[in-house]
């Protein structure tokens, strides 16, 4: 049966549009298998932002707009794994209405599997595979991030930060972190009061820091307003080459974290640390 298919054959089938094989190949990548693929030209947008601002819903309507424009859109939606059980409840796709029916949309839910930075280290291999299979727009939705999670720049050359109204005063907009790295900021839920104020705060902050060309866009994923304009802006984004060194650093860190977590001695070292037999420096030495 299909078990007998070689990986090469599976990749061929996936390239021809076989979603079942694409799904299986993504599982293989997730389990650590390295596929023989040579492609690094995928178009990737990373979407990040705090929990509850409407990232999934916004991506859902953006996907519809892209499909109307003739694109094939793949979404990799990341949700957290439980640090206790290792399980995960992956529910991003339920907010993306076109995800389950359109031929031009592919959504895959991923659990963080407790990788530091909230992104699994094999994300780039998934992106390469999706690009190879003809998915012309690839969106990565991160777990609802805080302010300092910047690992997304390791995998996406365009980064969009989504925020909402009433999430703090002007000082929040002045803080450092992902907001400095984002290529554009979207204030979603523009149907609610104070959305314009939030957008103004961020815009003012950008103006002070010589980032006045950075755009702040208002959308309402609920009412589907501002979406077409948003897609126009995203399509026009220029890749920020100054971020390249940061991207390489984050990739290295991601790979390093993975090596650390897959070290066979890790469990013993953790037990020794817990019982006080060794201290942190000794643990580092043993690793």
């Amino acid at each position: 049966m299909e078990m007998g298919l070689t990986i090469i054959k599976r990749i061929e089938l996936a390239k021809e549009g076989n979603r079942r094989e694409l799904g299986k190949l993504l599982s293989l990548i997730e389990s650590g298998v390295k596929l023989p693929i040579n492609n690094s030209n995928s178009w990737v947008l990373g979407v990040t932002g705090p929990p509850g601002v409407g990232k999934s819903t916004l991506i859902g309507v953006m996907v519809e707009e892209w499909v109307n424009r003739g694109e094939k859109v793949a979404v990799l939606a990341v949700d957290p794994s439980s640090p206790r059980s290792g399980g995960a409840l992956l529910a991003d796709r339920m907010r993306m209405s076109s995800a389950d029916s359109s031929e031009s949309v592919f959504v895959r839910s991923l659990a963080t599997r407790n990788h530091p930075g909230g992104l699994i280290p094999f994300l780039d291999r998934m992106i390469n595979l999706l690009g190879l299979c003809g998915w012309s727009r690839i969106i990565i939705e991160t777990v609802g991030g805080g302010q300092s999670e910047i690992r997304i720049v390791a995998f996406a050359d365009r980064v969009m930060l989504v925020d909402g109204p009433d999430r703090g005063d002007i000082v929040q907009a002045e803080k450092a972190g992902i907001i400095e790295l984002a290529d554009l900021v979207v204030i979603n839920k523009s149907d609610l009061p104070n959305a314009q104020n939030a957008a103004n705060s961020i815009k003012t902050s950008f103006d002070y820091s010589n980032n006045s060309d950075k755009l702040v866009i208002l959308t309402s994923a609920l009412n589907k307003t501002g979406i077409s304009e948003l897609i126009d802006v995203v399509e026009m984004l220029e890749i920020d080459n100054e971020r390249n060194s940061l991207r390489i650093k984050e990739r290295l860190l991601s790979a390093w974290d993975f090596l650390l977590l897959s070290n066979p001695a890790l469990n013993d070292i953790l037990l020794d640390l817990e019982s006080g037999r060794i201290n942190l420096d000794e643990a580092l030495n043993r690793l």
């Binding site: 299909e2 979603r19 079942r20 694409l22 799904g23 299986k24 993504l26 599982s27 794994s81 439980s82 206790r84 059980s85 290792g86 399980g87 995960a88 409840l89 992956l90 529910a91 796709r93 339920m94 907010r95 389950d100 029916s101 592919f106 959504v107 895959r108 839910s109 659990a111």
Partner: protein
């Protein structure tokens, strides 16, 4: 053994407390659960199982339309080359309807009052059966069921 499992709500049924409780219990047992949300067509559920490469799909229905919706999901899974996917069901499914659903390859039906621990046990059992190549997928011989 951690599995990827889709929990789905087929048809026009707006009650998903049960589905959410199951999703939560499976999460706590270490599984990765993809929840579809309400009011999905059988074809959409099959699509989710395919794209997410899920091992099993749990169908929760309380609307009385189980004899239409569940067979459709089973048929479409088989027609799309996913005979190996394990189908189980829950919700309000009268005893008199169950034999028919089992005959289509549904491996377990959990009604009101089910302990979540027995669903976890069921999943452990199907995982073992799958590992030993015993019939358990929706397209395999429907002889075996969970009681």
């Amino acid at each position: 053994m951690s599995m990827r499992i889709v929990i789905a709500k087929p048809g026009l049924d707006g009650h998903d407390r049960g589905a959410k409780v199951i999703a939560r219990a499976l999460r706590d047992a270490g599984h990765e659960v993809i929840y579809t949300g309400l009011r999905r067509k059988p074809s959409e559920i099959v699509r989710v199982v395919m794209d997410e490469d899920a091992v099993a799909v749990g169908l929760s229905t309380l609307s009385g339309a189980h004899n239409v919706l569940i067979p459709k999901v089973c048929e479409e899974l088989i027609a799309n080359g996913m005979s190996d996917v394990i189908v189980f069901a829950g919700g309000i499914i009268p005893e008199s309807d169950r034999e028919y659903l089992y005959s289509l390859g549904v491996r377990a039906i959990f009604g009101p009052g089910t302990q979540t621990s027995s669903i976890i046990e069921f999943l452990e059992t199907i995982s073992k059966r799958k590992g030993s190549d015993l019939e358990v997928g929706v397209g395999d011989n429907p002889g075996w069921r969970w009681d």
